[in-house]
Subunit: 502 residues, 2 copies
Amino acid sequence: MDAVARARSDGADLVVFAEQAISGVPAYELLNKVNFLDQCEDALVEIASCCDGISALVGLPVQEGRRTVSAAAFIQNRKIMGYITRRHVSERDDAPFLYAGRGREFIQVGGQTIAVVVGEDIMYPDEFSGHVDAVVNVGSSKYARQRIEKRYERFGNMAYRLGTNVVFVNQVGANTDVIFDGSSAAFNGEGKPLALLAGFSEDYRVVELDGSQPPVEIPYQDKTRNVYNALRLGLGDFFRKNGYTQACLGLSGGIDSAVVAALAVEVLGAENVRVLLMPSQFSSDHSVEDAMQMVRTLGMQYDTVPITDVYRTVVGAMAPVFGDRTEFGVTEENIQARIRGVLLMALSNKFGHILLNTSNKSELALGWGTLYGDHTGMLSVIGDVYKSEVFDLARYINREAEIIPENILLKAPSAELRPEQKDTDYLPPYDITDSVIYRMIEEGQSREEIINAGFDAEVVHKIYAMILRNEQKRRQFCPTLRVSTCPFGVLRVMPITSKYGF
Amino acid sequence: MDAVARARSDGADLVVFAEQAISGVPAYELLNKVNFLDQCEDALVEIASCCDGISALVGLPVQEGRRTVSAAAFIQNRKIMGYITRRHVSERDDAPFLYAGRGREFIQVGGQTIAVVVGEDIMYPDEFSGHVDAVVNVGSSKYARQRIEKRYERFGNMAYRLGTNVVFVNQVGANTDVIFDGSSAAFNGEGKPLALLAGFSEDYRVVELDGSQPPVEIPYQDKTRNVYNALRLGLGDFFRKNGYTQACLGLSGGIDSAVVAALAVEVLGAENVRVLLMPSQFSSDHSVEDAMQMVRTLGMQYDTVPITDVYRTVVGAMAPVFGDRTEFGVTEENIQARIRGVLLMALSNKFGHILLNTSNKSELALGWGTLYGDHTGMLSVIGDVYKSEVFDLARYINREAEIIPENILLKAPSAELRPEQKDTDYLPPYDITDSVIYRMIEEGQSREEIINAGFDAEVVHKIYAMILRNEQKRRQFCPTLRVSTCPFGVLRVMPITSKYGF
């Protein structure tokens, strides 16, 4: 409502809000609840009542017949004139809950003809080419690594090819795992940017589409900074929108929990982040010392709870069951990780701190985490970030001061669940391993393609088998802030029961 | 291939396989993998090579352009004549992975004209009405409570209205959580059933569509028996198709774990089911005794591992963290449940038994389980079965002999996580609570509708709030055998971050 008033006083003819601005995205099952849709309509009527002497496009879900479609309501001078509805619904979060609408429509505003398209309909320019003064996309495009620069390029090219203004208005903010980066933009018919709105925060801009406005420069998009900002927005909105204030996590002295702790302190404040140090007999001295140094630097509340006694009691209780199978193995490694899960959840339950998960995407791909152990948490902060990117994030966090102890960045990654364990015991260093995983997951390359690109065949087959085998674990993983086009989780689903690939 | 040979030797003109018979359903991401689609095509070519002197319809996913559609390949005399592709793709498991095809097409077989429709296209009879000798549906319709009888009714009515034969060929078997019940059927133009194939197992039948075949009777469909058979099929196929043989679970002396144990023994054999009894200080004598009686009756391998020592060690380790918050509460209840999770997973890791989850749908709705505690498991057997239905299943299991001790059916349900705890401490008995949950979840009724139907307003609001609040827990739950139209889990998704309803 404030935005409408501001736009009117700035003399704008049309104010545009994002796709499903009223409902939030994704609304999943709510899109099929009549009383939810009624509430959305009530909000629309209230917005319309403010549109005195101004037109508006407002995204919301509406029912046509008994089918819910994603629409942009067109409001003119306080009257809801009609709805432009989205035709293409292949986007995965929405697809099971939305039906296809009619696609682009033309509206007349201030003597100009504008083609309005909702959501991914903008990907089908053949459907709205023809002479118009502008194309307006009421959009909701999620953040993904390097997507901002790709979007700029695509919209610029589209505007140039269509020879008309293209205005893209995006959602901004996060809903649990889904992050919208904003970065709304307007391009003129020469493909030049007229306005580039803020990324990762709300923004407002008046754009003249009559050719009078000079183009602006596209600033450099730093990949790591954008991922960092996306995670910061995602973490912040998860807490703010759910009414949470305090977080907890386990701090191991490794880089993953260090990065998550630094992000949490940045977003929530040190006074709202509480950590547990849970050393075992296999924890190295430097791990405990590195963790302690971070606690001191950031000023977080911490407790040290060694897990050795609990571990011995569990193994003792199971001794009659295990019988002569007393050799130390994966079972015993997992017991340690699960005890840590029990202790963290106990802290969370007792004081109401929201447990943050600290797994990274490389581990999730390879199945190196322990289900119900280090897989615990209400939100995974870096579960869509490769291990090598976690190092990038750590360096970015340390750009001005040593927040994460340098030693954590330098030492070899280890789960420290058995003596002298290193992540590289079984696979090559992360720069190689991550490249292979990235090609498989994000680029959908086959084993043959990856081997032909020069990677070791044995390593490729090993990683491939590990990824396939661990779908079961990933299926029970917590919601994960998404920063890639192929996040594991609810919607990147492989069959658990499958002979494929073996 | 055997079926083709058999059909040919029986003199059939056309042999029909189910939708995606070659790929399995749901194949999720695999539907976008080129080498998977290639393997499906290879299998089709092999089937075609056997179709000497016979026509066939075989379901598989195919690519049209770069878009994967669900198709029925039409084979005539060893030649693949073409593909009929599914037009309507709203079914939730498939929707994000499949594009819309062209819909029904006509084929000529043995001098007859047949309309072929794939999958849910059969729900749109307006699109294939007109004069044909038969409608054949290459289908994959999941099992859900009472769906078999509804399907018979729908197909009978459809055949009557169209005035022609309607043949429905369904998938049979389970893939992780999804269960196909088979129950293929043929109806003549008077709406009378000509053939009703087996439910929950593979079957084969030759049907004459020239009016010469007399109709058959529709047998009585016992609701509990069908649910039991669905769970049996689901559990069996999960183990068989994944190459698993042995299961483990926690046996508490309550009805949920009793029913799961009985099902597991029925499906896998007593020698392949291993149970842990994990009493705490709050376990009643009768619970341990009832569990022991079941162990003896079924002859399962068992161990008793009291959790008291581990519980004391955990609480002792956390004592400095808890400080003066020493009162016994939800934290302490959850610690007990989570220790049981740790012990069960240790058993599973050590010996390779697959852990079966024993939560029921009422608990999952209300959030009464403990995340990482009794929520652990690779497969939830009764997570889509209401508590009151669990009692029905127990009585069905006991129909010939007392497999589940009668005392378990008679005593009041309790989590036994604190002294004298009963499930009815907080909510009415399960027949009432389940009715309210059922109306909310399966029938999508609003609070007002349920209160108007005569339920206590306070109870309705309480249950409603509990269901909404616990989406977060359900999101991390294990795959669940589905026997309802509204199973929780991967595809029945509400936003976690939402102000809706509060």
